[in-house]
Each structure stands twice: as structure tokens, then as C-alpha cells.
């Protein structure tokens, strides 16, 4: 084999071309990694809202909280299904929320966006121990007070502590607290009293969805069978984690598809760049390649060596790309969740799988971009050595 240092030093000698090509590849890897990190960020943010031993019950045919409605009187039936855990006082751990969406002004004055408004009971807050007030206080039951998720607290007009938010005409809410919820999607919501929110949106006597805590995740099938048994009630049950996974699906597919499409388009340019660089390398080193062929190195060895050099070049770019993408971990991103049509804030989540995949993508670009030049190199006749 031709020693690796031959390729490394040749890349170092042509440092300006090497760097320019690597930056092109790096940009593609950066875009791809960023899109995948965004998808992962969304998925994790939504999945943090779910618990493995929780189950959700919705109206049959609904796929999100906005389109589902269950009468308050039916909550008790759901809560009495087998497998539902009970608290210290023997009451089943089951809560129903009212979920609605309002269209509100962004704080930066750049338009409007949707906010999820969740009406909850004190039991509903206690049901989610990850929810903690970090500024101000909890809203008092039966009042127009609301608390705001940390991620959107300053993104919308009126969501500052002490601010006022208009839920509906003449139905304003006063912000008395800011809460965290373990980085989950709840942090992109506004929570108020169940009855006040239901009244504001004309949904009295209804909840959107019921959440129950099971004795164990293994009991889900029995619980679901009991809840879904009565066809007249028309309920669908599913594990909470699965619900959030589905909630992220459309948006995740959209982000991934956008990222991949952009990366693929960019990669065509980067591959052409790598190809031009490698063609240049082959042309400049024609005599050298001839010498290697004259000394007895086979066509395959030459092909592999030049292909390897192209991959090295691309991996260098890939490393630059993933290094740049890794810094995005600190950046927060806000976009529409297609499931609820509301704004959700999440961070880029760099994982080793994503970074490795993006790097491999860079390497593949090197293989594709370097293939034709490597073939040209391998076809160099040994007699070229004599031509000097």
C-alpha cells in the first residue's frame, strides 16, 4: 500500500485548495447535522413531556389534544379502569386538561404566533412533579391567574411576570408565575385554572384529554382494553410516550426532509468541488503516479490511495462541519408544531449518532467526488514516469 503520509502531506502541501474544498464539505455536513439535531431536539422536548407509566385517553379519531374532547362526567369512568394507580388517599391518579390555542403578538414585534393555553386543576399540576414555579407563584384556582412556561416567557407580548394576556375578548389572564417542566414542551405553554380556561373558550363541562398514571407500564394493555371496550364512548388510549412521539412525527419529518433536501443540494456543489480538487491533484501528480506505476504499484492501489485522499479531505471538512454544528447545542429554536399549530421552543440536540452520521455523509461525499479522479489516476500509464 502507498503510505497514508503520502496523502496527508499532499493535502498539507495544497493547503489553500484543501481548506476551500473542506469548507464546502463542512458546510453540507453542518447543514445536515443541524437539521438532524433540530429534529432530535424537537423529539426530546416532546418526549420529555411524557412518562412511561402514564397513558392518555382521547376521543376516537383525534390525534391531538386540540381536536379531542371528553365530557367531565366520563373522566370518572376512565379513572376507574383497571391498572390506574391510586394516591395515598385512595383516589385514582387521573387528570383532564382543557387545551386551546390563541394567536398572540410576538414580543419582538415581528408578527404573531400561536400559544397553547392549558387549563389545569391543582391535581393536574401535582400530577406532573417536574413542573416547578421558578418565578412568581402558582395561579390560584378559580381565578384568571396564569403561569407561563419558561421557554416562551419573554417571547410574546404580555407574558412577562405581571403582564396581561387576552385569552378571548374580555377574557384576560394575569401572569403570576413562570414555570419549568424539565425541558419538556409544557415550557412552551401557558397554564391557567381549568374552569376559567374552559369558560374562556366555551368548553365548559369538557376536557380535551385524560391522563392517567398506571401501576406499571405493563398494565397498559388491560387498561386500554377496558377503556376502549365500550364503543359508544368512543375512546382511544395510548401510552403517553407514544402520544408525544406521534406529536413530534410530522414536524420532525418536515425538519429532517428540509435538512436532507438542502444538504443533498449543497452536497452536489461540494462533491463537484472535491472532484475538481482531486482532478487537479491527479493532473499535477501525473508523473508521480507514473513513477508509482513503474515501480509496480497496481491500478487498484493507486485508485484506493486517491480515493482515500478524497475521503480524508472530506472527513476534514466533515470534522469542521460537526465542530460548528456542535456549538449549536446552546442555540434555542422556535417553530410551529404542526400537530398543535402552536409555537414550540426547543434546542439543537447534538448526539454522537447524529455527528457520526453527518461525518459519514461527508466521507461518502468524498468517495463520490473522488471516484472519477481516482479512476483517472489509476489509468495513468507507467510510461508517464519517463515523460518527467
Amino acid at each position: 500500500m502507498i503510505p497514508i503520509r503520502y496523502n496527508l502531506r499532499n493535502l498539507a502541501v495544497r493547503r489553500a485548495t484543501t481548506l476551500a474544498t473542506a469548507l464546502g464539505v463542512g458546510l453540507v455536513v453542518f447543514v445536515l447535522a443541524a437539521a438532524l439535531m433540530l429534529t432530535e431536539g424537537l423529539r426530546r422536548t416532546l418526549s420529555r413531556s411524557g412518562q412511561p407509566d402514564n397513558a392518555v385517553v382521547m376521543r376516537k379519531g383525534s390525534d391531538n389534544e386540540l381536536s379531542s374532547s371528553i365530557a367531565n362526567t366520563q373522566v370518572g369512568q376512565i379513572a376507574s379502569a383497571p391498572g390506574v394507580k391510586k394516591d395515598a388517599d385512595g383516589r385514582p391518579l387521573a387528570v383532564g386538561d382543557v387545551v386551546a390555542v390563541i394567536f398572540a403578538d410576538l414580543a419582538n414585534g415581528k408578527g404573531k404566533s400561536n400559544i397553547v393555553i392549558r387549563g389545569v386543576t391543582p391535581e393536574g399540576i401535582a400530577f406532573r412533579p417536574e413542573v416547578k414555579v421558578v418565578e412568581g407563584t402558582l395561579p390560584r384556582p378559580g381565578t384568571e391567574e396564569v403561569m407561563v412556561g419558561r421557554k416562551i416567557a419573554r417571547r410574546f407580548e404580555g407574558l412577562d411576570l405581571g403582564g396581561e394576556l387576552e385569552l378571548r375578548k374580555n377574557r384576560s389572564a394575569k401572569v403570576v408565575g413562570v414555570f419549568e417542566a424539565g425541558g419538556s414542551s409544557y415550557e412552551s405553554e401557558v397554564w391557567g385554572d381549568l374552569d376559567y380556561v374552559a369558560g374562556a373558550f366555551g368548553r365548559e363541562g369538557m376536557v380535551s384529554m385524560v391522563r392517567v398514571r398506571l401501576e406499571s407500564p405493563a398494565l397498559f394493555d388491560g387498561f386500554a382494553a377496558a377503556v376502549e371496550q365500550d364503543k359508544r364512548l368512543g375512546f382511544d388510549a395510548m401510552p403517553e410516550l407514544e402520544f408525544y412521539e406521534k406529536a413530534s412525527e410530522q414536524t420532525a419529518v418536515f425538519i429532517t426532509a428540509m435538512g436532507v433536501i438542502i444538504a443533498v443540494f449543497f452536497s452536489i456543489g461540494a462533491m463537484i468541488g472535491a472532484m475538481i480538487t482531486m482532478y487537479g491533484a491527479v493532473a499535477n501528480r501525473r508523473s508521480e503516479i507514473g513513477v508509482l506505476r513503474a515501480l509496480g504499484f497496481s491500478r487498484t492501489t493507486i485508485l484506493v490511495s486517491f480515493l482515500f485522499e478524497s475521503v480524508l479531505l472530506s472527513l476534514l471538512g466533515g470534522l469542521l462541519g460537526i465542530a460548528a454544528a456542535s456549538t449549536l447545542g446552546m442555540v434555542k429554536f422556535s417553530m410551529m408544531n404542526f400537530q398543535t399549530f402552536s409555537e414550540i421552543v426547543f434546542a439543537f440536540e447534538p448526539t454522537s449518532e447524529i455527528l457520526i452520521s453527518a461525518l459519514v455523509f461527508g466521507g461518502v461525499m468524498g468517495v463520490i467526488g473522488g471516484f472519477l479522479p481516482a479512476i483517472r489516476a489509476a489509468r495513468t500509464a507507467p510510461i508517464e514516469a519517463m515523460r518527467g
Binding site: P3, Y6, V291, G296, F297, R299, M386, G388
Partner: protein
Amino acid sequence: MSAEATKADDGHTKPRADKPTIIRCQDLGRTFWRGKERLDVLEELDLEIPEGSFEALMGPSGSGKTTLLNIIAGLDRPTRGRIEVAGKSLGDLSEAALAKWRSQTIGFVFQHFNLIPVLTAVENVELPLLLTKVPASERKKRAQTALRVVGLEDRMDHRPQQLSGGQEQRVGIARAIVHDPKIIVADEPTGELDRQSADDVLTLLERLNREFDKTILMVTHDPAAAERASVLRKLDKGRLS
């Protein structure tokens, strides 16, 4: 057709008629096409070179010297005729087999030295050994020994651009001998050198021929270089004269 000019009593190695033939060309021809124009660069060429001789090949530009050298070294194939080198009929070898044969049998010395610029002297010399099963540590030792033979033990870690032309050519010679080939082919080895460096290189080639029994075939335009060979052959219009 074969012609040999033997120098006598000049202190140099004489052709060894008693030795077996190592290079044999029979009715060799090589034709190139430039568009529709036919160029017969070599024609009906017969040649026998005994093992261990040091032969110079002279002739005007376009006479076919380098083409003949290329064919003998297995870099090119004849259009007609038969060529046998070191017991192998080169026409019978596949391209891969020919490459392997070259790596074992031939040492190359080029006019333009043709060292790999990004590799040090010792790394350049080591290249032919990468095609063998010699372990890495042994490869380096052999490359260092070859550089000592050519008097460059103090330039082992220098890159080609840090060496003079004469030193570069000596590295080229070290590369040509490191894998102990039977034959060294040299294409204008002094063409790029000043007189002193050319003399040093020719002395080295003589030494390789005399002390290490290498068969050397050298193409040259330089009469002073040809003088140093034991046999001088002249080629004109594709025929030995």
C-alpha cells in the same frame, strides 16, 4: 540485428560474453499512430544483453532509445516481435503480472529524478519495498543502507527540494537498488546534472555494475556518459546500427 561496440583496456567492466543473456529482443517492432500517420519507432530489432553488463544506448532524438528502454523495462509493449527479460517472456504477462515483475526485476533511474516531493529521501527509497513482504523496521534499515551505498547517509530525512540535483539523482539510484533488482534501466540519468554531479552518478552506476553485478542499460545523449559504459549501442531510425 545486433551491434556491440566493446571498449578494451579502458579500465571499465567488459561485456561478459560468457554470462547468460538477460535481455533478448527478437524482431522487435513498435508502431505508434498519430491520427492516420503511422510511426514505426522500432523495426526488426534484435538485441541480446548478457547478465552483468553495463550498456549505453545512444542515438538522435526520435531514434527509439526510450521506447526500447520502456519495452525492456516492461513499461510498454512491442507491436511486433518477442521480448524476454530475466527469463520471462514479457508478452505473456498480464498487466498486473507485468507490474509485479517490474517491482521485482527492474530498478528505474529517471532523467528528472522523479522523487515524490512530499516524502523524505529515506521514504522515497523505501517505496519499492512497500510492494514486498519485508516488515516495516527492516524496510527502513534497507532504505538507509541503500542511501549509505550512494553516500547520502546524512540526507536521509531531507525532502527532495532540500537536495541538490546530484543528490536527488543519488536518492533515485538508491531507490532503484533497494529491492535488489537484477536490471537497472537509466533514462538520461545525467541529463539534468552538472559535470561533477554527472561524474559522481556515473561512478556510482559503474560501482553497482562492478561490485553488485547489476545489469545496467542506460539511454544517454552524453558521449562522456556513454564512455563510462562497457558496451555502446547506437540506435537510428528504430534500428540498431
